[in-house]
Symmetry: C2
Subunit: 395 residues, 2 copies
């Protein structure tokens, strides 16, 4: 039995990123209700089913007329048109009330806005001339039938949903969300329940769907029984202690581990491998280490599988470090911080119980492997995960 | 009848912000399942129900012993301890296997890590001395009973959910989400369906719960029948045309409008008022104008009611403007843009059909009222709403 953490050769964080980024990321597409499509990625283009507008329309409220009827009109020299009922064809000298968006009556070629035309009983007083086509939206002027309305890959936010609905669509084809099988092998209750909830929430945040398997009696059988997934996260028993049998269980289930042991703390016992064609991430079972290695390793792949940027979903902001961080050269270190104004304080985590401290963090930073830490006062990039960092108290 | 848009005195956007920010924002609290609490705001502090750890524990895998038994041990001068079964009290000269997190056996005051101690049958070979307390987590060292574990106002992300679960909690008290009554008065189908979906999605994004009333037959009666809400958004019939009767309907329902007409485009016919003690926002019914004024006005209040920052949820980034923007002095202008690399292009929106163009936008900017626009090449702040702006095409 080797001492925990004594992996012979550890994979660097950057090499782990390269491994993750080389995983296949196709997840297919599915048809869903437009009402449930917010935030999803369009997987097949939406096209305009008809010219937009589909006929000549009025662009303002006003009066449809022939432009030549208004030639020479001004407030000093008002001209008068005869108002005819809606729908009638217009000849020169006539006008008809029209509303913005309404079809232009036959014969009309302009819309007089209310600023230049005032109805006086059956007669329209016109105090300004308009050009032909003025106030008129031509058929197909906005978009032509068959033109792309929403491109493939577009994230569906309110404008795209409104446009699709206005085209009469009730369903859209979107990229399928990646299924992430989470097999919790390691920690005992209530830590296992804690990780199940927290990792599910993180997978959802990153655009995936988490399927948490119940704690396995026999790990290899649990792994072999995992439903088809885009990614398997096996949490726990990743170290080198007596009952740390995760790597053996992966082999027994027909999988393989490409790398075990990362030059990363916490998360040094993480591993990267495969179960068939499905990438399998081995994460440590200690709650803090599991969450940290989810953030640094698994989340990156979940986001890419979901068609998102691999970048961390929090914002990256500069803070001044209030205390020194000492870090081992050759190992990338994940450090949660509390932010206060423009300063960030590295959290002192209780040994073997980092979770209580991490719950106070506003974000984290990563000390690159080639650095031996940061001096106090250093300007560092913090990935801010907590909205309103530094201004927490509410009422 | 006055011409549309000819409001006598328009409220500036900044004054509208001040009105919105002065609205009461208490929404109360509710008890919810921990599993559904991701992203919510804690409304009552979570405290540690017991000391953490609740007893002296081992901080590493290794062997519990009395530190004095190891005095003088080194690799040149190994000492030998007798291994006793788990649970037995330890006297000097004895040791017991222990795992990280396990209770320290009575009598032990240190844990020898595996690096300095190796079992050889019933005997433990110790090749290093340890100090008293080394490798031991003292009862209450992490946190003491009754101490705050998660502060009120904290947004519940994975670490907080994991911590709450590890404390055995299954429910949390969180800030209630604001109910937003959306009364769609204005646009005809399918525009009304489009706005119903899109505004609901935006309210959800901003932390609220949207309740869309069916299109009202008689607007005043619909308004009077609105369920108790934190905010009412009345969409449509806000202008000054013949059937723009929203302001009258508000009065008929017993409400009042403080301001009608904003120095804002689009969204110039928006209004701010009250129905009883509930703030009521009047938004234009044209889909583009409705979405723009939701973003600029309603969203700000929804986010504050939800206990979030009033700031727009997208990130703010600098872009170089590729084309000039001309804007009327005295009116704030909302301009959707397409981003490409480091450059932002203002979208040319089809008159009376801005939605199709807006669906292509990656974000928007606001030209302040005192500016007459921006020259090409200007560095502008864009509120980016579309992830991956400028690198859209996926496969």
């Amino acid at each position: 039995m080797r001492a925990p953490g004594c992996f012979d050769e550890r994979l660097s964080l950057l090499d782990a990123y390269a491994w993750l980024d080389a995983c296949p990321s196709a997840t297919g597409s599915e048809q869903i209700l437009l009402a449930q499509s917010f935030g999803r990625l369009l997987a097949a283009p939406v096209t305009f089913p008809a010219d937009r507008p589909d006929r000549d329309i009025a662009l303002t409220d006003g009066y449809a007329a022939q432009a030549e009827s208004t030639l020479g009109a001004s407030s000093y020299n008002p001209l008068f048109l005869t108002i005819v009922p809606d729908g009638a064809a217009l000849a020169s000298g006539y006008a008809a009330v029209c509303r913005v968006g309404a079809r232009l009556p036959p014969g009309a070629d302009a819309v007089l806005p209310l600023e230049v035309a005032e109805a006086k009983g059956p007669v329209l007083e016109v105090c300004g001339a308009v050009a032909r086509g003025s106030g008129v939206g031509r058929k197909g002027q906005g978009a032509q039938r068959g033109e792309t309305a929403i491109t493939t890959g577009r994230r569906l936010d309110a404008p795209q949903i409104a446009l699709a609905a206005s085209l009469g669509l009730t369903e859209l084809t979107v990229r399928r969300r990646p299924d992430v099988a989470v097999v919790l092998a390691g920690p005992k209750p209530p830590a296992i329940e804690a990780l199940s909830l927290a990792i599910s929430a993180l997978v959802e945040r990153d655009g995936g769907v988490a399927h948490c398997a119940p704690p396995p009696i026999e790990m290899a059988r649990s792994l072999a029984g995992v439903a088809p997934s885009s990614l398997i996260a096996l949490v726990g028993r990743s170290g080198q202690g007596q009952d740390d049998d995760a790597v053996g269980a992966i082999a027994a289930a027909g999988g393989r581990i490409d790398y075990h042991g990362l030059a990363l703390t916490p998360g040094g016992s993480a591993g990267l491998g495969w179960l068939g064609a499905t990438p399998l991430l081995l994460l440590p079972g200690d709650p803090l280490s599991a969450l940290a290695s989810y953030e640094l390793l698994a989340g990156r792949l979940v986001r890419r599988l979901a068609g998102r940027s691999w970048e961390f979903p929090g914002s990256i902001r500069k803070f001044t470090l209030s205390r020194k961080i000492a870090s081992q050269v050759g190992v990338a270190e994940w450090v949660p911080v509390v932010c206060n104004g423009s300063s960030a304080e590295p959290l002192a985590l209780a040994p073997a119980d980092g979770l209580a401290g991490y719950a106070r963090a506003d974000g984290f930073l990563v000390v690159a492997a080639h650095l031996e830490g940061y001096a106090p006062g250093s300007l560092v990039d913090v990935i801010v995960t907590s909205e309103g960092a530094g201004s927490r108290e509410m009422e």
